[in-house]
């Protein structure tokens, strides 16, 4: 029989991607609540949800810290190989596509806001620098989520 290793430790870069995804989702959720407030149905669970956000952030931060600290151990000797780099590049490619579309959409909306207001009335979303800033911050978080999700897709596919 061909000998198989029974342990199936997740690749280090996959752990990075999971922690990055969790942290980005938690930060995005926290940011949305801080800016727009709690949705009406969730107000009663605010303490519980906030605790989950902090736990996800804490676990993600600790995971990344441990992965960085273990780089000099035997487990961390091979931190990233050519397949990890290929998967990472696909994540960055999709994140780039997303950020380009997001920035272009926001820019067009800002540039055309006056015309849209004159012609159609209240269809302008980013009618103030304040809203434009929030849109850019949200786009930044979603860009990071796109990157991590793409990486996880390719890791799980194999």
């Amino acid at each position: 029989m061909i000998k198989h290793k029974t342990e199936h430790i997740m690749p280090r870069r996959e752990m990075y991607a999971w922690s990055s995804l969790g942290m980005s989702l938690a930060l995005l959720g926290y940011y949305l609540i801080a800016v727009f407030g709690w949705p009406s149905g969730l107000e009663g669970h605010s303490d519980y949800i906030t605790r989950i956000f902090w736990r996800v952030l804490g676990i993600g931060f600790l995971t990344q810290l441990l992965l960085d600290l273990s780089k000099h151990t035997s487990w961390g000797k091979i931190d990233k190989d050519e397949r990890d780099i290929m998967i990472e590049s696909k994540g960055y490619r999709n994140a780039y596509y997303f950020v380009m579309v997001a920035v272009a959409t926001i820019a067009v909306n800002v540039l055309l806001s006056d015309i849209i207001r004159q012609v159609g009335g209240n269809h302008v979303i980013f009618d103030s620098p304040y809203m434009t800033f929030h849109a850019l911050v949200i786009a930044l978080f979603i860009t990071e989520i796109t990157k991590s999700s793409t990486q996880l897709y390719y890791y799980l596919k194999n």
Binding site: I2, K3, K5, I9, R12, D81, E82, D84, K157, N158
Partner: protein
């Protein structure tokens, strides 16, 4: 030339080389165990350099480890 794929005999060669584990081979060639697993399952095609390193680990020419074969159903 479109309907060709890279096959390999890594699994068999590991067995013939003292039942070498994926972990042992990965350490010899400097990649993660998951990458060796993906290559063995033909889900990832290694770079030429990694292919040479794997062949060297088995002390064989690269052609004895990797083959470029037509997809099944493709006329030869």
């Amino acid at each position: 030339m479109d309907d060709y794929r890279i096959e390999n005999k890594i699994r068999l060669l590991r067995f013939q080389h003292g039942e070498m584990t994926q972990e042992e081979l990965s350490q010899r060639v400097g990649v993660t165990r998951q990458t060796i697993h993906s290559i063995e399952a033909s889900k990832y095609s290694p770079s030429l350099e990694l292919a040479f390193k794997i062949a060297m680990a088995f002390e064989l020419p690269i052609g004895d480890v990797f083959q470029y074969v037509p997809e099944e159903g493709t006329p030869k």
